[in-house]
């Protein structure tokens, strides 16, 4: 390593949050994320300004992965959101918006940041307790007896991304396909399909069969004068082919390229060769070709197919897997090889098509999110009311609850009563701001003073008409306009009241959010905000190109 340049001393910044530069960056990030939220969210174009690929998206995971942030504080926020989306898929924007809103609120308050963090932490506990209660009134049970709730959950995810560019009919079709795909992947114990004919034996290679020395590494290779490496490798490949043929393999699949000579030889012997599968397909392929443990009598020696990482030794027999049948699936002008599983492993393929690459990319990410959301319902069959109703409801609940527990809390946390109330107000305000981020240009948000749901209504009502006459139904669609209700603009402050549970309603919510994703997003948002609030110093090592940072409290 070169030691020519003098080593730079580390740079230490104290109280980073008071820096106007940092808060400006945070505010911009907040604005970016807020404007992305919801069905009327705006898209962002990301490109490198030298004519490369242009990304158009409003999905947090895509957006934050594509941008490189310069300051450790926004970086921390983005990393937290990305971590959340990699596990839960949905609610990344919610986490980002809420976290930055909490930070903006904390900066506005004239309270020491660590004290605010303590109060936030306590309030998060209250939220979590309330949301996990059985009788939480912004939570609904997901009924598996009908597909209605699953469809609603999926529809909520798909319609929240305008870059998917779907008409209503197209969106409905894709929602159906996604739910159907999900249901196909849920293993069922009842089906016992009798199968006709023998299964086809499959070999899967993760190494390249192109005839090059894949594992050669960096070192040099010494060969004897007479030997020709390429021919020797090809000879080995052909021997491998012979073995596959004698072992009765019918399908050779390879993650990378297969040598044309081997391919030709195998095809001549009646094998199907599928090459260039790519890394993403390997895992599902292994899953699908694996035999179920329940049927050992049929093909005893076969366990699940394992990808073979070398071609230089004979393939162990146990590495083969099997598929039921092979077919050709036509999709537009494309012809796709269609493998049908032997046995009953729950694998299915969702084929997505779109007019442009931009929309297809967004649609793909959105469908993956929807699939993750549906999968989470298996573990936790609940959903939260969407359309901003959960946020406004929760804000209302916390505002009321914090008033009732204030004496206890101040003695527990060791902070002053006014600090506690200010921080609590900031917390509720952040939640309401997150709900209001769903507003489009033409709507404003109201909150009813009974159940504390969010009601979108026209921003410019005709003269002489009151808001109350214009409201149709609340954001989640559970309550529709009732004459005996009172409304107030959301986030403008009102007397605290305990939001009443909704009883005996026949209507169903139109918008649902994933419960586990939203709960985790809430926790991620508050904890990340607390972490940033607790930051006292940022110490940056200036010696590396990509400066690493450490924080100390």
């Amino acid at each position: 390593m070169s030691r020519l340049s003098k080593k730079q001393p580390s740079v230490c910044t104290a109280a980073p949050l008071t820096d106007s530069n940092v808060s400006q960056k945070l505010a911009v990030l907040h604005q970016i994320l807020t404007s992305c939220l919801g069905p009327s969210g705006r898209l962002k174009q990301i490109h490198n300004d030298v004519g490369g690929h242009v990304l158009t998206t409003s999905t947090s995971s895509v957006l934050l992965k594509a941008v490189q942030l310069s300051h450790p504080v926004p970086k921390l926020l983005a990393a937290a959101v990305l971590n959340h989306t990699s596990r839960f898929g949905d609610c990344g924007l919610f986490a980002g918006v809420l976290c930055s809103a909490l930070l903006v609120e904390a900066r506005r308050l004239m309270v020491e940041p660590p004290a605010v963090a303590t109060v936030y932490r306590q309030l998060l506990g209250l939220c979590t307790t309330y949301l996990t209660q059985e009788d939480c009134s912004c939570k609904v049970r997901v009924e598996f007896s009908s597909s209605r709730d699953l469809l609603t959950l999926t529809r909520s995810v798909l319609t929240s991304k305008p870059a998917c560019m779907l008409t209503q009919v197209e969106a409905e079709h894709i929602v159906l396909q996604v739910v159907q795909a999900f249901l196909l992947t849920v293993p069922s114990s009842t089906t016992d399909v009798e199968r006709l004919g023998a299964d086809l034996r499959v070999a899967l290679f993760s190494t390249s069969l192109a005839g090059d020395l894949a594992e050669e590494g960096d070192g040099s290779l010494e060969v004897h004068g007479e030997t020709i490496v390429e021919e020797a490798v090809l000879q080995q490949l052909l021997e491998l082919g012979e073995q596959l043929v004698t072992d009765g393999v019918r399908l050779l699949a390879c993650q990378k390229v297969v040598h044309p000579v081997l391919r030709h030889m195998l095809r001549g012997r009646g094998l199907v060769v599928a090459e260039r599968l790519g890394l993403a397909l390997m895992e599902p392929f292994v899953q699908m070709t694996g035999m179920e443990k329940a049927e050992p009598a049929v093909l005893t020696s076969l366990s699940s197919a394992q990808p073979v990482a070398t071609f230089q030794v004979a393939v162990p027999f146990s590495c083969y897997g099997c598929v039921g049948t092979l077919g050709v699936h036509r999709c537009g002008s494309r012809e796709l090889l269609h493998l049908l599983p032997a046995g009953d492993p729950a694998v299915c393929t969702l084929v997505l098509c779109h007019r442009s690459e931009t929309s297809l990319d967004e649609l793909k990410v959105t469908c993956q999110t929807a699939e993750q959301v549906l999968r989470q319902t298996l573990k936790e069959p609940s959903a939260l009311l969407g359309g901003g109703c959960t946020e406004s409801h929760l804000a209302s609940y916390i505002r009321h609850k914090s008033k009732t527990v204030v004496t206890q809390a101040t003695s527990d946390l060791g902070c002053s009563r006014s600090d506690y109330l200010l921080a609590a107000e900031g917390f509720c305000h952040s939640l309401e701001a997150t709900a209001r981020a769903l507003e489009s240009d033409t709507t404003v948000s109201l909150m009813d003073l009974c159940h504390a749901h969010r009601w979108p209504t026209s921003a410019a009502p005709p003269p002489g008409v009151s808001w109350a006459e214009l409201v149709g139904s609340c954001g989640c669609g559970l309550i529709s306009g009732q004459s005996n209700m009172e409304w107030t603009p959301l986030g403008t402050g009102h007397e605290p009241f305990p939001p009443a549970p909704l009883i005996n309603t026949a209507s169903q919510p139109h918008v649902l959010d994933s419960f586990p994703a939203k709960l985790n997003a809430l926790q991620v948002a508050v904890e990340t905000a607390n972490l940033i609030l607790d930051l006292k110093y940022i110490i940056q090592d200036k010696n590396e190109l990509f400066s690493s940072c450490q924080s100390g409290v």
Partner: protein, 736 residues
Amino acid sequence: MFKLDVLINITEVISHQCRKQAFMKAGRVCVCNAWLPRSPSNKLGGLPRNSSAHACRERARPEVCGTLLLLEMPWGCGAVGGEQHAGLQQLIALAAATKSFLGPNKSYKFVDDQAGHGGSFLVCSPSRLLEHLELSCPVSQLLLETVQAHQKAFCTGAGTLIFLAGAWSLAALECLRDGIPVCDIVSALTEGLDSCTEACRMSCVTVAEAIRSYGSLKSRQANRAHGDATSVKVSSQSATGSDVFHSSSAHLPGQAASRCGSLRPDQEHKALASLRHRARLRHSRYFNEKEESTGAESGSERSPRCESSSSHLCDLGSEDVAFLGSTVSHGSENLMNLVIEASRIQRENSEGRLLGGTVFDVSKLATCLVEGLWEEHSCVTSGLVTFVSVDQASLIQGLTNQSLRVAIFDGDLSEKYRHLGFRKPSGVRRVAEVSNAPRPLREGGWLERVLDTLLQLEVNLLLVNGVVCTHLAELCLRRGIAFVERVESGVLQHLAEATGAVPLTYVTQMSEHCVGEGALVAIWREGIGDGRRVAVNIRAGRSALVTAVITSTVQSKLRSLEDRFWGCAHRLHHSLRDGKLLRGGGEVELDCIRHLRGLLRDGPSTGACGQNRSAVLQRMSHGWMDYIATLLWNSGECSSKLEAWDACSRAAEQQVPGSTLPTVISNLHPQLNADWLEGGRGGRSATPVYDNMTVKLEAWRRALDLVLIVLQTDMEIIAGSSHRDTEGLPAHFIIL
């Protein structure tokens, strides 16, 4: 047909000059209008002159470091500067450059790269123009992506797409200027297009109807009733009869080569008629009889099935296909005649066996470009026509009229060539146990082995996707093996299927069963080529492959002619596949304008929401109006754009279904009536004009999707810029 219109200049020099002004303009992606003043007669009037396709940026990027530039633009978000949506302006400017490509009379454009690396190009289609422009702003990248996706799927209709993307961007921009919120614009535009698409699907014309109105099917049905009694008997004989015919005709090289395309538009009718006449004469007796008998068998259920599926279009006669082709030729009659002729040859070659259920298989079509000959020499030939080096001329002459054994290779034929995905091992060191051991003679060894294999398998003809190395080429010539290089992979595939050959990568793979048989080769036509190359014709017994030889004296026109030929071929292909057509020449757009007016009448028009909706739908219909007006103006039917707008809005006002554009225009110019009736110059001919339904509706949808994506974008984020770039940036740049 060869008129020049706008010089588009893509030089670095000019864009450099603009850069300085560019960043002066607050909050805008900059613009380069240097090329506009260069053409005083350009048709770009009425567009924002200060915006253009060439957005330039002022920084060089030496290295990427972990920062992000956020270019915050007033992209129509919220209250600030909603009327200055930069993305929409860029779309409008890009679309404006392609306006002269609309309609049957297309103007050529020169794209001149004065920086010196690209040379100049002559382009005649919007997709080619976009390809040759230096597209630096992200919106133009999006447009290019959209257009290329559409071209890939349909091969035609890109002009409509770009034009409407521009027109509807203008509509959206005007709406923003009026303070209509983005979500209202989005919902109204979507509603408008959905409704119009539905209306168009309802009002489409089936291919059978289109042909019936012209009279051919009717007469054939009458014929069929007449010959019904004998048809069954004939059909039982026809199988053997057609086989005989086929085997006799397939081995006569050059028989089906025929000339057409030497036609001027004013001769079109006569030519069509003669083509029809000739087509009938060329048909075998058996062929005609069989076709009619199959028609008679399914006669009872024919009309309903004709409406519902396209597969029954396979009983179209040659004259029906010719008529259908002429209705979707869109100004390229000569090239469409080539396509029609290709379809006829395909039917003849594949007699009895239908081409996958249709009368025309666009995938079994190839082109060969010949420079130096008049365009009248364009023609269509059965089999593949391509060039080989002149050294092979005598060899090929010797092989003529022999059934050849053929080997097909999908890469290069050279020792160095390796298949795709092969990584040559690096760092290989040879060690010899005996110091003076002879090194293997690789070069000679490989050549000899290859030649041995070829001779052993008695191969006479090599078809190669890549090139043949010179040493091997010499040896092949000496041993009497002909080779053809740079054959397209699709064509190779067809020839492989037709001869029974298996496409290979290496010669070492060759074995007896990989060699195909029955290929015929002949010098295609003497005197074609430039002295270094000679044109050969390769045919395989059972292949429906047809080559269109496209000729032009102007070399740079060849590519445009080829593009237009493929456009024609795909329009015919889509008409047959859809089985449905839209009325062309602006009629269907006129229907859409009328339909939108209906929507405006019926829908809510009060309240803020209703008012916004009416305003958006109104502007959307202006987009279509502009389309028709540009079409009329480009085709010379109106002397000014104003007149075209006038004619168009008059036609739109008349609710009578019969009031088509020609009638309205003829009312404007009573003195020209006679011309039109004769189908004279500049006027409409008597042949109706149709558009492909799927292509057109998809183009509309893609155009709107693009506009909506751009409209809903409110920020442009530039990733991966370095710190050095950020010095002296305007205030609207924020480093995140």
